[in-house]
Symmetry: C2
Subunit: 201 residues, 2 copies
DNA sequence: CATAAAATGGACCCGCAAGTCCAGATCTTG
DNA sequence: CAAGATCTGGACTTGCGGGTCCATTTTATG
């Protein structure tokens, strides 16, 4: 492991992580070998272990971090600005569009399900991702409560948790069945519940 | 592959599947080798390939079918009898209890995420499981609509889909974080939405 | 420009686990 | 009880893929 990274070194490291992520997206974690990554990124075996001393596990962890960041960033700027019903709709559409075009490949779920429970590092990545996601949604709910669009007896964290769970499940089901129906239903039901909260008191 | 199974043969086959399922529950798919299964079930290599000519994949598929059946049966008889609010509550408790005690191990999600998208067989198992689960819930909703406990403008299939997605996501998150909060929130929010439907019109 | 650290290439090792094979035991059924 | 199927034991092969090693080249820095 290098003490300090050269500019060239940092570039190579990044190339490896991105190449590995792409390979995994294309062919799955199970089917991706270090040799595949090596071939795709035009690097040598020693480079892989130079930048990821822990071997494959290290590399997978770096990929998981990259993909976790992607999951959030692809929802922006909508996710950070849930301040009106049209904004919620825009976010909803964005999420659906993303998974529609991404089709069968949810890189993060794939990666984490591979090393999910095993390594504490990967677990931390997932936990943080969920926390951020849920936090953004909860902030949106509080904002809507402040402007009187959502009833104040709604628990922002709990509702956000339910919504995140629904999205996760919807994506998971899509990965197996190929259908977007469940994701669409979960998003719709979750947002509808918020929207109707005012009227139901 | 045997043309017909002897009584003894059937027993052995079953012993293998159940042993493999237990091993996977204990140590994960990744860490489970055919030798582990062989040791645990007191069988020989040739027996494994005698009953599962397709090798590991065949065996995993059989395990997936077993676990899928378990997922449903553990929710019975409640899942098949969602005809009153107390019944819904009982079902909810059962699901939570099950995953609470099962802790970090969701055998089905583990198995399917391993070969999920790859093999059409495993995909069929998951698709069918989801369909049955969702169908049972939808039936319960229709029953409650008939007795006036749920508003008639609720789409049973869509609501059931959202609920199943929430449960799946909640379980998935529990697998990574260890917390039951999301599952609990998803179940609570989903049922609450149904319960409030009458009042919100 | 000298020197030490970092980066690179690629040959090599090694263990593991899936899968093969066949001899022999056991069962079924006419 | 005989014959053909089914079942079982376990040694063996094989390939793959993660990980090691070291020689060589490139880069930073005084």
């Amino acid at each position: 492991m290098p003490g300090t990274l050269t500019a060239k070194g940092a570039a190579t490291r990044q190339r490896i992580v991105e190449g590995a992520a792409a390979e995994i997206r294309d062919r799955g974690v199970l089917a991706t070998t270090l040799d595949d990554v090596r071939a795709r990124t035009a690097t040598s075996k020693s480079q892989l272990f130079h930048y990821f001393p822990g071997g494959k596990e290290d590399l997978l962890l770096a990929v998981a971090e990259l993909e976790a960041a992607r999951v959030i960033s692809v929802q922006q700027p909508h996710l950070g600005d849930l301040t009106s019903w049209p904004a919620w709709e825009a976010w909803r559409e964005r999420v659906l569009d993303h998974y529609r075009e991404q089709g069968r490949r949810c890189p993060l779920n794939v990666v984490t399900s591979q090393l999910g429970r095993s390594t504490p590092g990967a677990q931390a990545v997932v936990t943080e991702l969920i926390a951020i996601w849920q936090g953004e949604i909860a902030t949106g709910i509080r904002h809507m409560q402040a402007s009187g669009e959502i009833a104040t007896d709604v628990d922002p964290n709990r509702s956000a948790a339910a919504l995140v769970a629904g999205i996760q499940g919807g994506v998971l089901i899509m990965l197996s069945t190929g259908g977007l129906g469940h994701l669409e239903a979960a998003l719709g039901a979750g947002i509808d519940a918020l929207r109707r909260s005012r009227r139901s008191r």
